[in-house]
């Protein structure tokens, strides 16, 4: 998902790129809680029967589920924020390696898109002087191409 704010002259802008995430953190916790309640219910019944070896499998599965929810929620906090003010372009980025920043000179800043063979998604890069950083990895294919076009036009404004 992209969110764009521009000044009236379209020179200064802020572009935020975030992954689409339809599951809120509260909903994730609630759904996980439902799984826990069901698992505890089944676990208690199995122990009452004498079938305690079911418990490690229930636990393992809950752990897997928890890891999945943590992973997808963590992924939903990733972002690329491109802020252009005057002659400077600043990129703030959060991905699995953590939060980082890059400052560029607006006149030299370039947007590159590698399309590659048709069955791979494209990649979008921002940078200058041979050093580029990938942005928009969380976007869908057409959104990425559209955003690249939009960014180029904004940087030229």
């Amino acid at each position: 998902m992209t969110y764009l704010q521009t000044a009236p002259d379209r020179r200064d802008f802020k572009l935020l790129i975030r992954p689409n995430s339809s599951l809120s953190a509260v909903a994730a916790i609630m759904i996980f809680a439902v799984f826990c309640v069901v698992a505890v219910g089944i676990g208690v019944y199995m122990v009452m029967l004498g079938a305690w070896p079911v418990l490690p499998f229930l636990g393992l599965e809950l752990a897997l589920l928890a890891i999945t929810f943590v992973l997808i929620k963590k992924r939903s906090t990733f972002f690329d924020l491109i802020v252009s003010e005057g002659d400077r372009v600043q990129l703030k980025k959060k991905d699995r390696s953590g939060e980082r920043e890059l400052k560029l000179d607006r006149y030299w800043a370039q947007i590159r898109v590698s399309t590659g063979p048709s069955w791979y998604p494209s990649k979008m890069w921002i940078g200058s002087h041979g050093k580029f950083t990938e942005i928009g990895a969380v976007l869908t294919e057409e959104d990425r191409l559209k955003t690249a076009k939009q960014l180029r036009s904004l940087l030229r404004a």
Partner: protein, 523 residues
């Protein structure tokens, strides 16, 4: 943070087998699942033909009784865990991301792993037939004490079940993450297509039921090799406890096999009736109700073990309750067709056959829910007829409906309608020739899982075997139809059918390798 970009093009495109081994694309993985399912369908079908060949006449003709029992057991395991479950996961992989407007599954690498566990697991299962002592021969329910006494084949089966369970759980977690977290903006839960709803509920069932099976077979393993006595009466254990645990998994498993089928026909019927699905919300709640009830009915599989009367009454009434949400579904499908502008292309024929014949299986299920009556039907051919009407007509026919419905979207070509209809009529007629007489055999008292039988059952068994062979060989037509459609034919449009509903019809046919190009907005 900066990266030197030497080459803006990606790595070489994987070619040949590497594409399929390492793919993380949901469509590739969906295709792998569907082909795997079809191959297993043929393998399991071949085993069924061994069974029917043996039962063609009274006496022992083709195989010895021990091998016959192995065929009965492995046929069921292959069909349930190798054909039907992976088949629906194949549909889920292909269609769910497209239906919710997501570019791929939430965890694509895990998706690859979930699939590639399957061939290893089923190889172990089939290999069990060739080890000393042969394969598992205790029926797919692997009841002790028979399974505790079995040879090494039972151990291989236990490992198979563990691996298949792992694959199912990883798949289920992936499906839940995809549906809950990757829906397109505007696609609220109550706007999701029914197929998506049925899969999210199926995934919940898988997550709840699979650890129970894993625990049960682990206890079997420790009873066999590590001196425990969970199920051994001689050591103070209880063989009936296994039945409770197994069916606590086993009955939800039936709905794991059937709910995605309900989802498929809920997509197909509105398209060919040219009306929206009648009672969408009630369909969603009925699916959830069936899933809930599936956890409180397990002991109807074991009325004859000697339960207290109150227990038998509870399980009888709770089982009968399932008829209500199921009836709601059947009513809604019929109401969708009512006064619709219907046409009868192959997917619709299969969907109608699913509704009609699954209902036959549902009604015989109600007969068996009645405890005193079940004492008569228990372990007879009536049960065999019942569950084939449920699983074959409910799940497999719906799968065929889904294959014909979405095949043009997958391949980009229309399938051969004439061949599709030939496949349909041969399948439906031969299925009924095979399984309808088995109701009468059961009523007359023919027990299941026997390679030889009394002369009074000869005629119906002969008819059943003839039907079985026609049914088995008819499936080669489906193979031909699919290959023909992959190789060419009339180009399919994006919509394929007359104004179908759903995001999958907004992308071109064949669906591009990466959908959705644009995150669609659902209003």
């Amino acid at each position: 943070m900066t990266t030197a970009v030497a080459d803006h093009h990606h790595d070489e495109v994987p070619k040949g087998i590497t594409r399929w081994l390492f793919t993380t694309n949901h469509k590739d993985i969906g295709t792998l699942y569907l082909w795997f399912s079809f191959i297993m369908f043929l393998v399991g079908g071949a085993m069924a033909l061994v069974i029917r060949a043996e039962l063609f006449m009274p006496g022992l003709q083709v195989v010895n009784p021990h091998f016959y029992n192995q065929m009965v057991t492995v046929h069921a395991l292959v069909m349930i865990f190798g054909a039907v479950m992976p088949g629906f996961v194949g549909f889920a992989n292909w269609m769910l991301p497209m239906m919710v407007g997501a570019p791929d599954m939430a965890l694509p690498r895990m998706n690859n792993w979930s699939f590639w566990l399957l061939p290893f697991a089923t190889t172990l299962l089939i290999a069990s037939l060739f080890v000393p002592g042969g394969g598992p021969a205790a029926g797919w329910t692997i009841y002790p004490p028979l399974s505790i006494q079995g040879g090494m084949g039972v151990d291989l089966t236990i490992f198979t079940i563990h691996i298949l369970g792992m694959s199912s759980i990883l798949g289920a977690i992936n499906i839940i993450a995809t549906i809950l977290n990757m829906r397109a903006p505007g696609m609220t839960l109550m706007k999701m297509p029914l197929f998506v709803w049925t899969w999210v509920i199926t995934a919940f069932l898988l997550i709840a039921a699979m650890p129970v099976l894993a625990g049960a077979v682990t206890m079997l393993l420790t009873d066999r090799h590590f001196g425990t006595a969970f199920f051994s009466a001689a050591g103070g254990g209880d063989p009936v406890m296994f039945q409770h645990i197994f069916w606590f998994f086993g009955h939800p498993e039936v709905y794991i096999l059937i709910l995605p089928a309900f989802g498929i026909i809920s997509q197909v019927i509105p398209t060919f009736a040219r009306k929206p699905l009648f009672g969408y919300s009630s369909m969603v709640f009925a699916t959830a109700a069936i899933a809930f009830l599936s956890f409180i009915v397990w002991a109807h599989h074991m009325y004859t073990v000697g339960m207290p009367l109150s227990g038998e009454l509870f399980f009888m009434y709770s089982t009968m309750l399932i008829a209500i949400p199921t009836g709601v579904k059947v009513f809604n499908w019929l109401a969708t067709m009512w006064r619709g502008s219907m046409t009868f292309e192959t997917p619709m024929l299969y969907a109608i056959a699913t509704v009609a014949l699954f209902t036959v299986g549902g009604l015989t299920g109600l007969m068996m829910a009645i405890t005193p009556a079940d004492f008569q039907y228990h372990d007879t051919y009536f049960i065999v007829a019942h569950f084939h009407y449920v699983i074959f007509c409910g799940s497999v026919l719906a799968m065929f409906s889904g294959v014909y419905y979405w095949l043009p979207k997958w391949t980009g070509h229309m399938y051969d309608e004439t061949l599709g209809k030939v496949h349909f009529w041969l399948t439906v007629i031969s299925f009924n020739i095979t399984f309808f007489p088995q109701h009468f055999l059961g009523f007359a008292g023919m027990p299941r899982r026997i390679p030889d039988y009394s002369l009074q059952f000869a005629e119906f068994n002969m008819v059943s075997s003839i039907g079985g062979f026609i049914l088995g060989f008819s499936q080669l037509i489906l193979l031909w139809v699919v290959i023909k459609s992959i190789r060419g034919g009339k180009k399919a449009t994006a919509e394929v059918w007359d104004n179908p509903e759903g995001l999958e019809w907004t992308v071109p046919s064949p669906a591009p390798y990466h959908t959705f190009a644009t995150a669609p907005e659902v209003r």
